[in-house]
Symmetry: C2
Subunit: 329 residues, 2 copies
């Protein structure tokens, strides 16, 4: 079923207000949850909202927390999220990074003790919409084994790179796992094979069987040893720059909270020429012959715009059961 | 065969001086070429030196070029490499980024019209040795198809993330292709199967046969669609921030030259506590049970230190034929 964007948003806002979020915080949080579903990232929009509410009720996410500044060194700032809503902290930090880049060409804000920011790409779109290059990443609870190992010790640490472009911002939003646990569960429920290997089975063979991978808990990082190294590097950066919790520390708590995040903003050059350079790159990429007849090559973020347009026109696609659940909250 | 590090370096220096590099430039270039072999990255040390010399002789790399500053905006600088040696330009830019970060917490230097920087990790080690976090990347000639396409339109755009640590710097040095063309050629010559899929065969099936992949020219980016997006994003960043040549433009020239690169440096926090955080992350990662009995889990850069130590003790491993060739230059 579909729901008008505004209905979705006001329902989220109603629930958030009942949880003691201020009018302003409820507005921002509700908007972003609704936008995540609007843009097709259902897993971090409506579908995640009940868990978010649960985390607020359990005290893992504090509705009245305000981020506090801990250290400033030029264009580099460290903040403490004080266990507030990840969406609010992340939006605030990317806003600060934009201001720092506006003043000084580049800015970096690292935050510790924050919570899950839902859709990582949200903050890339934020930077790009303000006309800035945005790079951000978060650490997470351990859900990937390191290369050469069996037990999970690395997070899937989503990484975002956003480039503003008048043709439609380029926003790469990429977790380091080849498939998320959510996606694997979806393939398992549908009894479908993964299109590409997503992990290992119990015998240590690469597998396209979601159930076997979930059973072995050996999900694949992108590019095998390369993604393993990238995930580790992102956790190190997030932890070191924020002086916050590492994946190791977060995992000890069993429920993911108090994560560390980094937001970098850079001011791109002359806008007219820059737009031309971006167009040249995208056009060239699209001239590759498609693998399948009639196929197309898309840049990261391109399909998001189509889904957004469709959602605003025809309503946002929702899971009826979860929508009913949220209405009952 | 093995050669003492100093012999390797002075032989490189002799050749570079004969090509009209100044004493200082020859010293830096020779040192880095020798260090690349010393650290086990033979492909971008001795083995690449003859090609570098050829590029100098062809005028693609200009021995007397000096990088010139084009734009400054706070902690963000744009430079023109004027087609000088990539090693010299890259080392200079990371040096500038370190200075900017020292003054302002974070610094970013983008350079256009530069050349192949040989081992990407060199500049990560440079930043980490100075006590700074270093992030850098370059675009390249097109050598990967975009996701959904057959023809090469993306570079393998190496990405480096370096974190200084007293236990031995963490230096991730990662091209976006799962295997390099050089590595595929090596497997092909040895008639060996790749340990993991590295691209597609002519029928469009994932393949571990290096010859088939080289024939189809469909090398795999790490993580399939994810690496494809990451490669595109890195090219966009390098091109936009430097206002330089994109992979599209570089590919038109057929021989790779005039590439675009970005160097970001960040000042990490309090050193004592930071070292402890890094140790915690690395120790935790290493507690994963190894996949194979007696196996170990390594962090990026860890094995480099072992190879370096061995090379300095026992001499640097060289290919006798290439070594002979360089001696004859």
């Amino acid at each position: 079923m579909t729901i008008p964007f505004e209905t979705l948003k006001s329902e989220f806002k109603r629930v958030l207000l009942s949880l003691n979020f201020t009018e302003e915080k409820a507005e921002v949080c509700a908007t972003i949850f609704a936008e995540n579903s609007r843009d097709g990232v259902y897993t971090h929009g409506l579908n995640r909202f009940p868990t978010f509410v649960e985390h607020v009720k359990k005290g893992l996410v504090k509705p009245d927390a305000e981020a506090t500044k801990e250290n400033v060194f030029g264009s580099l700032e460290q903040w403490n999220g004080n266990f507030g809503a990840g969406i609010l902290n992340a939006r605030f930090c990317m806003g600060r990074a934009i201001e720092l880049a506006r003043e000084n060409g580049i800015g970096c804000v690292a935050i510790r003790n924050t919570n899950h920011w839902m859709r990582a790409g949200t903050y890339g779109w934020q930077a790009a919409s303000a006309g800035f290059v945005g790079i951000c990443f978060t650490n997470t609870i351990a859900n990937l084994p390191p290369w050469g190992g069996i037990d999970r010790r690395l997070g899937n640490n989503p990484l975002v790179i956003a480039i503003p472009w008048k043709g439609g911002h380029v926003v790469l939003d990429m977790a380091i796992s080849q498939y998320s646990v959510g996606k694997l569960n979806q393939y398992k429920s549908n009894n479908q094979e993964l299109p590409l290997p997503g992990g290992y089975d119990a015998e240590g063979n690469l597998s396209t069987n979601a159930a076997d991978i979930l059973e072995s808990r050996r999900l694949l990082p992108i590019g095998f040893w390369k993604g393993s190294g990238l995930s580790l590097a992102l956790d190190l950066l997030a932890t070191v720059l924020s002086q916050g919790n590492s994946t190791a520390k977060i995992t000890q708590r069993e429920i993911e909270s108090g994560v560390s995040q980094v937001f970098i903003c850079i001011k791109p050059g002359n806008s007219e020429h820059t737009a031309h350079l971006i167009e040249e790159i995208i056009d060239y990429t699209k001239t590759s012959r498609p693998e399948h007849e009639g196929g197309s090559i898309f840049y990261p973020g391109e399909n998001t715009l189509r889904t957004r347009e469709k959602s605003l026109k025809d309503g946002v696609l929702v899971d009826a059961e979860i929508w009913g659940k949220v209405q009952g909250l």
